[in-house]
């Protein structure tokens, strides 16, 4: 619980801080940030490393309860800390779904027992994720849910969406929207465009996402509620968020690393690890995402970590479930495609992966200010990382298998406790 980090380059966008400093954690709380701190506690020499507020993922599927063959709270949070995350938000589409307090409490209890990082449950918007009646949202909030979402599918009924937004203004939590018109998607499996035509696969048009984003920013405006658009993937969705925000609507949004890094042309391999929803989009959409990241329209990078069992993905592309894992690859991928590619600087990336998520969901962390939780990630921007199975995650459905990149988390500290350390991890594998 007591830890001293010395010689680090501390990058904390929440304080506009970028300096060589020491950092002292006592009883799990950051108590001092200064040049040369002396303390008789466990010390990490972070020379050559960057110390940042622990990364926070707004969009993780931990699969427990109910689909433990894909992932568990224990394995999913191990993947999280290996990727530099100190907290993840657990999506509600478990079995049973997190639509009642008992499930929320189970998730929290299990993450305290076996979790490697903090877990913030997301509750369901509707009972059974059925899109018919509101779940007991106040009870879910009281039990610890930090937002509500029927993620995996949209809240199709506009009146239900409106009521959920209204109700959540009372609770002070966002409604997280998976934006997709199922009629426009029409069984599609990849982005609708040249490559879906070439491959003869059902296309998911950009309009499938954009029409619902347009609806929900209007509903956010009329209710005054906070809507958070999950995994934005199209140019039109970014435009809607940008103009709504300019008009004072409380709308925030996230993008995933895979939508930044990969395009629909890669689906020509027919690899089921490139099948996710929303699908990988075409160049003009990816460029719009980068522009949204550069101009601040996009608030957060979220993984949409969606583990599936090998057998489930080892089938024809049409038949495979949507989703890829992302916690262990998120930072290296974003560092490569955003910072090395000179879209943004490192401090803005840390804002997107830590401060921004904390700010928009009102979570602890996302800062290294004195008096905040001792959640710190040490990054080595030169260390190599290769994505290959086995992962810390129980699943290996990564879209990036075989890629080697530079820049990764080497130590992840949650509440002053070292939860991941690459040197220890290596010793363990060598044994």
């Amino acid at each position: 619980m007591n830890l001293l980090i010395t010689n680090a380059r501390v990058v904390d966008p929440s304080q506009e801080l970028d300096a060589k400093l020491d950092l002292l954690i006592e009883d799990g709380v950051i108590v001092k940030t200064d040049k040369r701190i002396k303390a008789n506690v466990e010390t990490i020499d972070a020379k050559g490393l960057i110390a940042v507020p622990g990364l926070i993922d707004l969009h993780t599927h931990l699969r427990e309860p109910g689909q433990e063959h894909k992932e568990t709270i224990a394995t999913g949070t191990r993947a999280a800390v290996a990727g530099g995350y100190t907290a993840v938000c657990a999506m509600a589409n478990t079995l049973p779904p997190n639509d009642e307090r008992a499930v929320t409490e189970m998730i929290i209890a299990e993450s305290r027992r076996n979790g490697a990082c903090r877990v913030y449950p997301i509750g369901a918007v509707s009972k059974g994720l059925k899109g018919e009646a509101l779940a007991e949202l106040a009870d879910l909030r009281t039990a610890g849910c930090v937002g509500v979402s029927d993620d995996g599918k949209p809240v199709w009924n506009a009146q239900l969406m409106r009521r959920a937004l209204e109700y959540c203004t009372m609770l002070g939590i966002p409604v997280i929207a998976h934006e997709e018109d199922a009629n426009l998607t029409d069984g599609g499996v990849m982005h609708e465009g040249y490559f879906s035509t070439l491959l003869g696969m059902g296309g998911i048009p950009a309009a499938s996402e954009e029409t619902l984003v347009a609806r929900d920013v209007i509903l956010a405006r009329v209710t005054g509620a906070h809507v958070h658009i999950a995994h934005v993937s199209t140019a039109g969705a970014v435009d809607s968020v940008r103009s709504a925000r300019a008009a004072g609507v409380h709308v925030t949004c996230e993008v995933t690393p895979h939508h930044i890094a990969l395009g629909d042309e890669s689906v020509q391999s027919f690899s089921t690890n490139l099948k996710m929803n929303p699908p990988l989009r075409s160049k003009e959409h990816r460029e719009a995402l980068l522009a949204g990241i550069a101009d601040g329209t996009i608030d957060a990078i979220a993984t949409d970590h969606a583990p599936h069992h090998f057998d489930e993905k080892n089938v024809e592309f049409d038949l495979a479930p949507f989703g890829v894992i992302g916690l262990e690859s998120a930072f290296p991928i974003c560092y490569e495609h955003l910072v090395r590619a000179k879209v943004i600087e490192i401090d803005r990336l840390i804002d997107l992966m830590s401060c921004g998520p904390a700010r928009i969901f009102n979570l602890p962390g996302g800062t290294l200010r004195n008096g905040t939780p001792g959640d710190v990630t040490l990054l080595d921007l030169d260390a190599e990382v290769t994505f290959k199975a086995p992962f810390q995650s129980k699943a290996s459905n990564s879209a990036f298998i075989g890629q080697t990149l530079r820049g990764r988390a080497v130590t992840t500290i949650v509440g002053g406790v070292i939860r991941y350390d690459i040197r220890r991890a290596k010793r363990k594998t060598n044994r």
Partner: protein, 316 residues
């Protein structure tokens, strides 16, 4: 023009997209030689004797399956037909497991008809010791159909380069159209596709074709008119209002055909819906319709593909 290559570079035929023009020439030239075999009193050559070819048909098919089987038999291969209905597939076995079990019995080639795009590639990637021939995968490719179409055009018109080919019908859901576009554009033919906008897939013009929404425009100046089957189950839903309206706007009738070039030929991959996409007078036109020649040529072209891939296999 004779092909300047004597073998195919891949062990598999997954589509036309990856073929080189020379390889296409080679298959068509080889098919010319095999066409004569089917006209002999003894319609059999020993080219694939001792080789086992499995016809793995995950989706219903008559013409293609029969054509492959005849081609295999005329090459003296041992053949085995596996259809999804009544098999382990109905018990929930995955395609990969089914294929791996078949491969454990040492076939030399697997001809696969799949419901889903990419299934032949999935097998080819995982099964290094067997040749995979795509007999149609979803709406993706149907390479032997495009080859037999090209063979028929070449035989009738003497060339592929510069020929104006108009393909009319359900472009969106057709594997035949995709393979034909790849093949015809590689061989420098001019391709037009025509359908109501609801049956034209996104950005298909990037495949190098002209897109029109009027039948007359497609027929005007065409040397080859290829009609595609309209799947009856699509009527009255969202693709077009009714078969009646489809026939009135896109059905090929003798009057509409008058706009085509005088020596234009009519093709159809089958099965036809008479009175829906094509009038019987056109389909049965003894001078212009080559629909049954396509079927005859299909055997020769498939013999050529089997021979070239089987031959490559023998060398290993």
């Amino acid at each position: 023009m004779r092909a300047s290559t004597s073998s195919l570079k891949s062990k598999d035929l997954l589509g036309i997209e990856a073929l080189l023009p020379d390889e296409i020439e080679l298959i068509l030239d080889t098919a010319e030689g095999f066409k004569e075999v089917s006209e002999r009193p003894v319609k059999k050559v020993p080219a694939l004797r001792g080789q086992l070819v499995i016809n793995l048909f995950m989706e219903a098919s008559t013409r293609t399956r029969v054509s492959f089987e005849i081609a295999e038999k005329r090459l003296s291969a041992d053949t085995l037909n596996f259809t999804a209905s009544g098999s382990s597939v109905e018990k929930g076995e995955t395609l990969i497991d089914t294929a791996e079990n078949l491969v454990a019995m040492h076939p030399d080639m697997i001809v696969i008809r799949a419901k889903h795009p990419g299934a032949p590639k999935m097998l080819a990637d995982r099964l290094p010791n067997v040749s995979i021939i795509n007999a149609g995968d979803g709406s993706h490719e149907h390479p032997t159909q495009a080859l037999l179409d090209a063979f028929t055009i070449r035989e009738r018109l003497g060339r592929l380069a510069g020929v104006n080919v108009s393909i009319i019908g359900d472009i969106a859901h057709s594997r035949v159209v995709r393979s034909n576009i790849h093949l015809l554009t590689k061989m420098k033919a001019n391709v037009t596709v025509a359908a109501p906008p609801t049956l034209i897939p996104a950005e298909i013009e990037k495949m190098g074709v002209r897109v029109v929404n009027r039948l007359d425009e497609a027929v005007e100046g065409a040397d080859v008119i290829m009609m595609l089957r309209i799947q009856l189950e699509r009527q009255g839903k969202l693709s077009f209002p009714s078969l009646r309206e489809y026939y009135n706007t896109f059905g090929l009738t003798p009057e509409r055909l008058a706009r085509a070039n005088s020596n234009a030929i009519i093709m159809h991959p089958g099965p036809m819906n008479r009175g829906v996409e094509i009038a019987s007078d056109v389909a049965d036109d003894p001078k212009r319709s080559v629909i049954l020649e396509q079927v005859t040529n299909g055997v020769a072209v498939r013999m050529a593909v089997l021979y070239l891939l089987g031959g490559a296999h023998n060398v290993e």
